[in-house]
Point group: C2
Chain length 339, copies 2
């Protein structure tokens, strides 16, 4: 980001008719977007996109989810038909939904509107060995980068990320445990709605996966390949692509947070392009955001994924851009300044 533009944006924010800093995070967003766009006055996005990646997880064989794996392709179809939560929220926010199959299990999905970029038909069960090879992990990250570059052409742009993949809170928890060194039990939540016994089993599965695979926390690709997922790798690629292209990327919940940890491990500066949308019900999400130094805007006890929290935050981010552009200064309005 351009620090000079951030400085100029801050100067203007301090001259607007309000006590300095009184719009809190709204001012932080305006200043950060100035730096990311490289303009003292950030502009409204000309293109808004919710990128949703679908992938499956071999670890569902361990019984970690409340839903059967067939729901992943069923929900992909629902996304394409416009009936899922992300479709509704993106439509409302004026954003386009792009859906890609980067790693769904089973026969290839051939549906109109779907981007077929499958790297592998679901990961392996990572309790027994690595989820994927290092080469597959690299390919999935590169697929995410390419997707971002192909799908988001206008500038300025605003990108939100989301995912669908039955069982994917389990690899996300494993990634967080690997990077944080914290015990799995503290990080494991109820995902789509499992009971306490199943949650304990899920924490045990994560602990086993780490013992079996021994991912190296200093090597983001190693963590990703051993205990990650294909859609998580693709989302990490989208984040890296956004950082390279100078596009702000709005994180969603726990799974996109795991992707952000991977992206941050591969390229620490990518953090500067991330905006946190909401704080999820998953207990590990708060820890992830603290590790990344990001403050979530929305506290709505959501735990759906798909990019729903990110899309909900779009109008707030746009409001921050309007604030810095449209508010009057103390001098313009003839208002006395404070002490």
């Amino acid at each position: 980001p351009d620090r000079a533009c951030e400085g100029l944006a801050q100067q203007r924010l301090d001259n607007l008719t309000k006590p300095p800093g009184s719009l809190g995070v709204l001012e932080d967003i305006a200043r950060r977007l100035a730096g990311i766009q490289g303009k003292p006055l950030p502009e409204l996005p000309r293109e808004k996109v919710s990128l949703v990646l679908a992938g499956d997880h071999g670890v569902v064989a361990e019984g970690v989810s409340a839903f059967p794996q067939e729901v992943t392709p069923q929900m992909v179809l629902n996304f394409l038909r416009g009936g899922a939560a992300i479709n509704v929220l993106a439509r409302r926010a004026g954003a386009r939904v792009v859906v890609a199959d980067i790693g769904v299990a089973g026969p290839p999905l051939e549906q109109e509107g779907l981007i077929a970029c499958r790297v592998k038909s679901g990961t392996e069960n990572f309790v027994l060995g690595p989820a994927m090879s290092r080469q597959e992990a690299v390919k999935a990250v590169e697929t995410g980068i390419a997707l971002l570059q192909q799908q988001v052409k206008e500038r300025p742009a605003l990108v939100g990320i989301g995912e669908m993949g039955i069982g994917n809170t389990t690899p996300s928890t494993a990634i967080l445990a690997a990077f944080s060194g914290l015990p799995a039990d503290q990080l494991t939540g109820r995902g789509t709605g499992i009971d306490e016994a199943r949650r304990q089993h899920k924490a045990f599965v994560v602990t086993r996966a780490l013992q079996v695979n021994r991912p190296d926390a200093r090597d983001g690709l190693d963590v990703l390949a051993k205990v990650g997922g294909l859609e998580i790798a693709g989302l990490a690629g989208i984040i890296l692509g956004c950082a390279a292209e100078g596009i702000p990327v709005v994180l969603d919940g726990f799974i996109s947070g795991a992707a952000a940890l991977v992206a941050h491990s591969l390229a620490p500066l990518s953090r500067e392009y991330m905006l946190a949308s909401h704080l999820s019900q998953e207990p590990g999400h708060r820890i992830m955001l603290e590790m990344l130094g990001l403050k979530p805007i929305l506290h709505m006890e959501m735990r759906l994924g798909e990019g729903t929290g990110a899309a909900l935050a779009f109008p707030i981010i746009e409001s921050a851009i309007c604030i810095i552009n449209e508010m009057a200064t103390f001098a313009e309005a003839g208002v006395s300044q404070g002490e």
Copy 2:
């Protein structure tokens, strides 16, 4: 609110293609709006209004604010010209801003677009005696009710409340202290940006005001008259008007929270029509919302007032309405349900 409609709304929410409850507070909002509108499927508002009341406070003579009292009418002018934060955020949210002088100090304000409904030219300094008479408090509440009825004609409607009044975190703190019984020091914040020494002085002023006036916490009008403010009374009236008319009313920050405590004390059912928008930087705000049983959506460290937080929440509330109307059910989408 209509409990049958709430029940039907909940049934539909549970059949939409997502794990039950996974959209968290977004689902709560959809269900509550169904009850308030009296329709199983709540509709998007045909009219959105930000009602902003301005009033002054005799207690500023004690040196409790960082800004001079002249800023109240200056900001009223800024609202009318469209240069303040609330204008920008309301415009973005598609809402109309209505500005009323219910109690500004000094000569009458005669400006185009301003609703002149002044009950009294600022309150008295409540360290020396009551802020206003009981009769004036009643008149200010009635003025708020009338304003709501005159300004919001379409149905369904969505109302946000806001205020401008230099020094008005001080009466709001006194109201909270009176209703909660908690010590003023714990509830007193930095308002528009005073330092720690001034904050301690402000807490002392609140404590003195309670000793001098001895407001009766069981009598909302007594609290309002003795340690309240004219814009706070008017906002309480707007809330009561919304409850009577079946209109959801979106609270803003600390001052509108004080008005909500008063409204709740006068008519406990009014709580059912309140939606909390954001959690303010003022330390007492969290306590107020807990007393009212409301969960704030936005955590943005804002402390501006004017109705800015309420306007920011409008698109989220509308998104909740779209979710319940537009998402596909499991049956429609052919998606397998969980366990």
